[in-house]
Symmetry: C2
Subunit: 326 residues, 2 copies
C-alpha cells in the first residue's frame, strides 16, 4: 500500500514534469530542460531505506543531500519493445547456467538503453519521509457491535470531509470527466474515471460510480431498501462501459471497499486482470455478492463480522487497540 | 496470471541454476560456470512479444535463434541496497524536470550495477510459447444449477489427477516439508509451504492446508457438516504459523480459491500485504466469511451464484461458451 501511494506520487510528479516540459517548449526558461547535469547524487548520504519492492524494482531512500533531508526514489524503467533489437546486439552476456534447452544469463546493457527513473525530493519534510515509509497493515475483525461502538463513533468524530464528492455531484468540479449520469435522486449516480487511470488504454480501466443519494456511508449502512440503487448502478454502469469502452461485463471486476477511503457510497469498476490496488479479498466486496447477500438477508451487513486491513498510522487502528481488539 | 505463471517458471529455472552451480562447485564440469560468452542474442530475430509487464519490468519474447524457435525472457533485477553508494557515485544523471522541491532525472548506471536477468529457452516447443503467451481472462457467472449441469460434469470427465496430493497425505512425498499436522481423519489436515514460497523471509509467507478427508472437491461441496473441519484448520493453522513464524492472525490472509487449481479441499495462508497471485476478490473467499456464511445458511455454497475468472485456454470456459453463458 505504501508502495502504491508512493508510486502514485511519482506518476503525479512525472505528469507535472511533462506539463512543465511542454510549457517550456512553448515558452522557454529553465524548467523542463533535459540536460546532463552535475551528479548531485554523488554527495547523497543514505540514512535509511524507507521501502522497496523486488517485484516492482523500486526503492525509496531517506538521506542527506548537502545537509538537507532528502528522499530519493529510484525505479527501473519498463522494457521497451522498440529497443529490443539494439538491446540484443549491443549488450554483453554472462552465462549463469545451461541445462538442456534452458540457459540463463546476466545481461549487461548499454547504460542509455537501461535507465533508472530517479526522483529527488529536497528538502524533504517529515511528512514526505513518513509518506514513503513502508506501513505495516493489520487485519481487523469488526463485529456488528464493534461497528456501533468503535468504528461509527470514530467516523462521526473525524467527520471526514466529503465536500469534494458533493462538488462533483453538484457539477462544481470535474463535470467534464463524467462518463455517464443517471439523475434519479434515489437510484441515480455519476460514473467517472478514477484519478489513478490515465484513460490512455483500457488495460487498467478504473471508473468510480458515486451515488447521488447522500448519507449512505458504506457497506454497513446497506439494507434491502438499497437493492434498487445497487442493481441500477450495476446494470447501467456495465452498459455505459460497454458503450464507451467496448468492454463487456465479463471483463469487469465491480466491487465496493470496506473500509472505504471516503464515507459516501461509491462502487469501483476495474478491468479484470488489472491488479488494481485494493482489489484483494481482504478489502473488496463484489457488488454481485453484496446484492445476493442483501436479497437473502436484509440485515446481512448490519450483523455480519467484517474483516479489513488497517495501516499502522490509521487512527481507527488505535481505537481497536485501545478496545483490546488487537 | 500469465505473467505470474511465467515468473514462477523463471524462478524454478533459477533454483535449478543455483543447484547446478553448487553441484558444479563441488564437482566440476561445464554446467553452472559463470563466463562471459559470445553474445548469442545478437542473432535473435523477434517474432512476437508474448507478454510484458510495465509494473514488473519484464518481457517474454518469441523469436528465432539460428533457425530454431526460442523464447527469451528478460526481467530487470531488483535495486539492491548494498550497491546504492556505488550507484550514486558512478552514474550519469540527466535532468528531466525541476519544480520547487521536486526534481526528476534519468539515471544511467554502470552496466554491471544494472543487469537484466535473461532466460533463453531453445529450442522452444509450441507448449512453451503458449505458456508464456498472455492469456485473457473472462469472469464467469455460475449459478447453483450451472454448477450441476456444466461445471461438475466437466470436472468429473476431466478427472484431474490429485494423486500428487494423496502422495503428500500418505507421506510418500514432501514429508520433510510438513510444518504442522493434525492426524484426525475427519477434521485433520497437513500444513506445508506452497511451492511459490522460498521460505527465506516471511514477507511473502505462503502456506497451504490440505484436508486429510477426501472427496471434498471445492467450496461448492461445503455444508454445515464441514464447519468443525473449517474451524479446526482456521484455528490450528493460525496457531502453527504463530509458533513457527511468529506471525499473529492479524497479519494473515486465510482463504479458499474458487475455482481451485485442484479439486481436493485446501486453504491458503498468505501474509497480509503480500500481493499473492489469486488473492483478488474475483477468485479468493476468506475462510472467516465461508464459516459465517455456512453458519447462517447451510446451503449457502450449494445455492449461491459464484463468480470466478477463467483463462481463454481453460476447457471449462469453452463449456460455458457452448452453453451460451458468455
Amino acid at each position: 500500500m505504501a508502495d502504491s501511494a508512493a508510486k502514485h506520487e511519482i506518476d503525479e510528479l512525472y505528469q507535472k514534469a511533462k506539463r512543465a516540459k511542454s510549457d517550456n517548449e512553448n515558452g522557454g526558461g529553465e524548467v523542463g530542460k533535459e540536460i546532463e547535469c552535475g551528479n548531485i547524487l554523488s554527495e547523497f548520504k543514505t540514512t535509511k531505506v524507507l521501502s522497496d519492492s523486488a517485484r516492482e524494482k523500486n526503492i525509496f531512500i531517506h538521506g542527506k543531500l548537502a545537509d538537507q533531508d532528502a528522499v530519493i526514489i529510484l525505479e527501473k524503467t519498463p522494457i521497451r519493445e522498440d529497443t529490443l533489437a539494439e538491446l540484443f546486439t549491443g549488450s554483453t552476456l554472462k552465462l549463469e547456467m545451461k541445462n538442456d534447452i534452458y540457459s540463463t544469463y546476466r545481461l549487461q546493457a548499454p547504460s542509455q538503453l537501461n535507465e533508472i527513473k530517479t526522483t529527488v525530493v529536497c528538502p524533504a519534510t517529515e511528512k514526505h519521509i513518513k509518506k514513503y515509509q513502508r506501513q505495516e497493515s493489520f487485519l481487523v475483525e469488526e463485529t456488528g457491535a464493534d461497528y456501533q461502538s468503535i468504528t461509527l463513533p470514530y467516523i462521526q468524530k473525524q467527520s471526514f470531509s466529503v465536500q469534494w464528492v458533493y462538488n462533483i455531484l453538484e457539477k462544481k468540479a470535474e463535470a467534464d470527466r463524467i462518463v455517464f449520469e443517471d439523475p434519479d435522486p434515489t437510484v441515480g449516480f455519476l460514473l467517472l474515471p478514477d484519478f489513478k487511470w490515465d484513460q490512455k488504454q483500457v488495460d487498467d480501466l478504473y471508473l468510480i460510480a458515486i451515488t447521488l443519494q447522500r448519507g449512505i456511508r458504506s457497506l454497513r449502512d446497506l439494507t434491502q431498501e438499497h437493492l434498487p440503487l445497487l442493481q441500477n448502478i450495476f446494470q447501467k454502469g456495465k452498459e455505459a462501459i460497454l458503450q464507451r469502452y467496448q468492454l463487456p461485463a465479463s471483463k469487469l471486476r465491480v466491487y465496493l471497499h470496506y473500509q472505504p477511503s471516503y464515507y459516501h457510497l461509491h462502487v469501483h469498476f476495474t478491468k479484470l486482470g488489472y491488479e488494481a490496488p485494493g482489489c484483494g479479498v481482504e478489502r473488496a466486496h463484489l457488488l454481485a455478492d453484496v446484492i445476493q447477500n442483501l436479497q437473502s438477508d436484509p440485515e446481512y451487513y448490519k450483523t455480519r463480522t467484517l474483516y479489513f486491513p488497517l495501516r499502522v498510522d490509521d487512527g481507527l487502528l488505535s481505537k481497536y487497540k485501545e478496545a483490546g481488539r488487537l
